[in-house]
């Protein structure tokens, strides 16, 4: 029973991390219908900027956070401006492949600079954040991940529902030409969504980095982990991303704990195929209805 509860807690915490890293992905998809294969690399860029500031330049943590977030915001703008803008209106596969190309470029660059080693942040999370409950403990990293996840969920929920930029984003994702003809500044919306997504990625990259150390390979592999999560929840649903993350996290931990550790890595994908056959748009994804 204790084993079960520990697995449950581990699974839920893992799930929240997945959910957190899936948020930036959903941001980009929701506002520009681009499937971002460079997601893992965006995570690691954020994590490494923070590493440079916190561990090597030894700035105060709050300043590090602010600079990282601003840097990633700018980076998102630059990515959109340099690489995605020329492809507006091109076929889907070309946009997807562009993000694949970007992911190779970023990964190569980061390996150039930092190599394949594992780095650690200086400890800065207060121990008071960790929760002890009987024999089960939740480390402070997970607690902060959960808090950050909940904050983002709330902020984005409101952002998409009520703010004018959020509504523009939804309209652009829905139908680009219609949004353009009604006077939505589509390019600005794209740029903003990439910038915000890069910020979200940086946040989740930092949390992941605190938890498992910062390593280019591990963090970029996280970018592929995100796919089952977001597909399960539905590509354009933020709540779905959170729920998908939790389900995948639990699934992985329980498979690893009870069946076999080697199956752990593929079980999300097997479930993914089954889900897609039954419910093609995921649990909460909006169903596309096509008319000719």
């Amino acid at each position: 029973m204790e084993y079960f509860i520990q697995l449950l807690v581990n699974g839920l915490s893992m799930g929240f991390l997945y959910a957190l890293s899936a948020l930036g992905f959903v941001m980009i998809f929701k506002s520009s219908s681009v499937l971002n294969f460079a997601h893992g690399e965006l995570l690691s860029i954020g994590a490494f900027i923070f590493l440079v500031l916190a561990a090597w330049a030894k700035l105060p943590i709050v300043v590090c956070f602010l600079i990282t977030l601003m840097g990633c915001f700018t980076l998102g703008f630059i990515i959109e401006r340099l690489f995605l803008r020329p492809l507006i209106g091109e076929a889907l596969i070309e946009v997807i492949m562009l993000t694949v190309g970007l992911s190779f470029m970023f990964k190569g660059l980061m390996l150039f600079v930092f190599g394949g080693n594992i780095f650690d942040y200086p400890a800065f999370l207060p121990e008071a954040l960790s929760i002890k409950w009987g024999a089960v403990t939740i480390p402070s990293v997970y607690v902060s991940a959960i808090i950050i996840g909940l904050i983002f969920l709330g902020v984005f929920g409101f952002f998409f529902k009520y703010s004018s930029q959020g509504i523009y984003m939804r309209s652009v994702a829905d139908h680009q030409p219609a949004a353009l003809s009604l006077g939505v500044h589509v390019r600005r919306v794209f740029a903003l969504s990439w910038a915000i997504a890069a910020v979200v990625c940086a946040m989740s990259g930092i949390v992941l980095g605190i938890m498992q150390g910062i390593n280019v390979h591990d963090l970029s592999a996280m970018g592929l982990k995100v796919f089952p999560v977001v597909i399960l929840g539905g590509l354009d649903s933020i709540g779905g991303a959170i729920l998908g993350g939790l389900i995948i996290g639990l699934l992985e931990t329980f498979t690893g704990g009870y069946i076999s550790t080697s199956l752990r890595e593929v079980i999300p994908y097997i479930v993914l195929v089954l889900i897609l056959l039954i419910k093609p748009y995921g649990l909460f994804g909006s169903v596309e209805i096509e008319r000719v």
Partner: protein, 356 residues
């Protein structure tokens, strides 16, 4: 004997057959024969073992790339599992050759057929999914197949892999570089010929209709799902066939090469070469394979230069960086790929000294 036509002069097509002809003028036909003659009779004798190895690799990659182009470029179904399908072919050929002791031609053909069936299984989600969701479903296929390669040890040998016997064809040993080159390129020429003819047939036109608008295609009476599955089947047949050849060529296989990176390499080939173009897939295969070889030279060179030896580990990422950069630059500056470049070059030669 009919009069050969060498110079096109305006559009004089009167019949539908003239519209879908492969060679507009006999000039192209003559060049293809010259090219084939050079490829088979000159190239194997003037190139050293290393160049021959690279060219054979290009031939095998080109077969797989043509298959992927039929699926992505003509039918519009994005697949991220082509590398794993290539692996399925390689494993099928290897298992047949070692466990059953089947001859070379049978193992390679069977590799194609088995992979076509596996590919069709992973194509089933296309009944309800399109675009991004299908793309992810095939990504899942890639990971599941990779898992099977490693875990089904009794059949695939796990991480140890399988060692193949030498290839023989009709009693002749063809495992030497030069004879294998001929075998690969005979297959390559046949597969090209089949693909070129496929895409201008009824089936190819149905594929293109599904790519352009699947609902409209269905409205016009094309059974959408059946053709999508067929496209998956054909494309995986090409991948599996190439995989079978590759297994015999390298003589030993492990699960390592058949990763997502290989799938993406194939997609990069057809994007750089040109989507929806058979010759484009060949150009793309040439480009990517040669780029890979050049980069490994550079890396090796940099490792051996005295002062840089300490930096050796940091030079390796160069490969990934340049690879990504090539994809990005092509997508931004020449999204129609090398096939379009080739067309522009050709027509400017033909039209010289006029601009059009």
């Amino acid at each position: 004997m009919k009069r050969l036509r060498f110079r096109p002069c305006g559009n004089f097509r009167e019949y539908y057959e003239q519209e879908i002809t492969i060679f507009e003028t006999d000039f192209g036909r003559v060049w293809v024969w010259i090219g084939l003659a050079l490829l088979f009779l000159v190239v194997p004798f003037i190139s050293g073992p290393y160049v021959l190895y690279v060219i054979t690799g290009i031939g095998i990659a080109a077969i797989a790339a043509i298959g992927l182009n039929i699926l992505i470029g003509y039918t519009g179904q994005i697949s991220l599992g082509h590398g794993a399908f290539f692996g399925v072919g390689a494993y099928t050929a290897a298992i047949l050759a070692t466990k059953v002791g089947s001859p070379f031609w049978f193992s390679v053909l069977a590799a194609g057929v088995v992979t076509a069936m596996v590919g069709m299984v992973f194509g089933i989600p296309s009944i309800r999914l399109k675009h991004l969701y299908l793309c992810i479903a095939t990504l899942a296929g890639q990971f599941i197949l990779e898992y099977v390669f490693v875990q089904w040890e009794s059949l695939t040998g796990g991480a140890e892999g399988i060692i193949l016997p030498e290839a023989t064809l009709f009693g002749l040993n063809i495992s030497s570089d030069r004879s294998f080159f001929w075998v690969v390129f005979v297959c390559f020429a046949l597969m090209c010929w089949m693909a070129v003819n496929l895409v201008r047939s009824r089936y190819g036109r149905a594929f293109i209709a599904i790519r352009d608008n699947d609902l409209a295609a269905e409205g016009m009476g094309i059974p959408k799902f059946r053709y999508k599955l067929l496209s998956f089947g054909i494309s995986s047949f090409y991948a599996g066939f190439a995989g079978g050849l590759w297994a015999y060529y390298t003589m030993s296989i492990t699960p390592e090469p058949f990763t997502l990176f290989l799938s993406i390499e194939y997609i990069a080939m057809i994007i750089i070469g040109g989507l929806g173009s058979i010759s484009g897939s060949v150009f793309g295969a040439i480009f990517i394979m040669i780029l890979g070889e050049i980069l490994s030279w550079v890396t090796e060179y940099a490792m051996n230069v005295g002062g840089l030896a300490g930096m050796a580990i940091t030079v390796a990422p160069l490969r990934e960086f340049v690879f990504g950069l090539a994809i990005v630059l092509f997508l931004i500056f020449e999204p129609r790929g090398l096939a379009e470049v080739w067309r522009i070059v050709r027509s400017s030669f033909r039209l010289w000294p006029f601009a059009y």
